[in-house]
Symmetry: C2
Subunit: 237 residues, 2 copies
């Protein structure tokens, strides 16, 4: 009955709570939950870079190497931390369009709270439990459109990519209070070169100072484009 899952991607088994059975030897001083929780703590406080086996080990009063009794590699740790940190999706409202908006908003909020999630490298299609909860939620909402499953997957990809992109842009523009100062300095440097270098459209964008305003509008804008596009598809089929 002991399943033999051979070579699974790092973190897959652990994220689903499948631990290697142990029979003899001292009880582990730590638990995976503890380790993962510490990782999240560090991420929240000091960013993605701060999530290191070394630091976690030190914080838990253990040597770095002891970590490798629990986790096969740093990558595995990251996968676990990531899945735990994304948490569960919210309840979505009725109707695919409101649902999509709510889903996107929730992710934007999540990324705003834990910007370091954007630094987690994407290794493959989502396979961990919480990530799949999000996928499941949106997919069931989309099933009301009457589109094929394949189309729904395409829409999902579209939406999740959009959120991620928006969030990562919002982060870098929003953070650092000196952003406006910096931006102005960059503009002073850039504009003459744009003019001389043959970037007419960009020059006018810069001169109209279109680069700065309303990021919230942008979220809504792009999302509206995507949803309208999906609507067109629905009408077509």
């Amino acid at each position: 009955m002991t399943e033999d899952h051979g070579e699974l991607p790092p973190g897959l088994a652990l994220s689903w709570g499948v631990l290697p059975v142990q029979r003899r030897g001292p009880k582990p001083a730590l638990s995976i939950e503890q380790i993962v929780a510490t990782g999240i703590e560090f991420g929240d406080r000091d960013g993605f870079e701060a999530i290191s086996l070394q630091r976690i080990a030190a914080h838990l009063g253990v040597t770095t190497n002891a970590m490798y009794r629990y986790v096969r590699s740093k990558e595995e740790l990251i996968v676990l931390v990531n899945d735990k940190a994304v948490g569960l999706p919210p309840e979505l409202p009725e109707g695919w369009r409101p649902a999509a908006i709510a889903w996107v908003d929730a992710q934007v909020k999540l990324y705003a709270e834990r910007p370091w999630l954007l630094d987690v490298p994407i290794r493959g299609a989502p396979v961990t439990p919480n990530q799949l909860r999000w996928v499941e939620a949106m997919l069931t909402a989309l099933s009301a459109t009457g589109l094929s499953q394949h189309d729904n997957l395409g829409c999902l990809l579209l939406l999740s990519g959009y959120v991620r992109n928006y969030a990562s842009l919002a982060r870098q523009l929003g953070s650092s209070a000196d952003a406006p100062v910096q931006a102005e300095q960059v503009g002073r440097f850039l504009v003459p070169r744009l003019i001389e270098g043959g970037y007419p459209t960009l020059t006018s964008v810069y001169l109209n100072q279109e680069y700065e305003d309303g990021l919230d509008d942008d979220l809504e804008f792009g999302l509206a484009r995507i949803l309208d596009g999906i609507d067109v598809l629905i009408a077509k089929r």
Copy 2:
């Protein structure tokens, strides 16, 4: 006449060819061009991780520290390598829609040739010359839509985000010849847990094996959605 650009983001000045003037002392043994070219070489051969000051220095027959005479930090190097590697955009056809498709295709091709570009962390809005060439090209194409500059920027963000996302998905699915084997193993592990864990929609997706087929179709699919969405907007205004 010597401009004093104070604190500019790393790589900005250098990417535009503004070098700190030198008046005395030995001539540099290396040039920035050489260093950047070596970086690209390593990236192409062994991926993003392989781009390190240490390796480049060794390859050029210099100590690691000598690099810091040319580049203020690794981050600066990465910015330069990135801009050089993205190169120039292609000539775009007439009409905003064909232009957008060509632009997207070109980027997909670029990311297929240099997948490691997807690993370059995005630090901020594009400011380096080649990156801005791409922006400029798409922006001028979009100006034919009659939308506002602000709307055009939103569309651009939408498109570039979409490409990036698609490319990063395509990479991880396409690479590694054992991907199908791996995928099957993952499926065997995952499906029972999806059934038990309350993921009905995903379960059916997995059982229908929707997860595997045509990635090329997906590119076209999402792009069509976005362009349709933009079309709706144009009609509305």
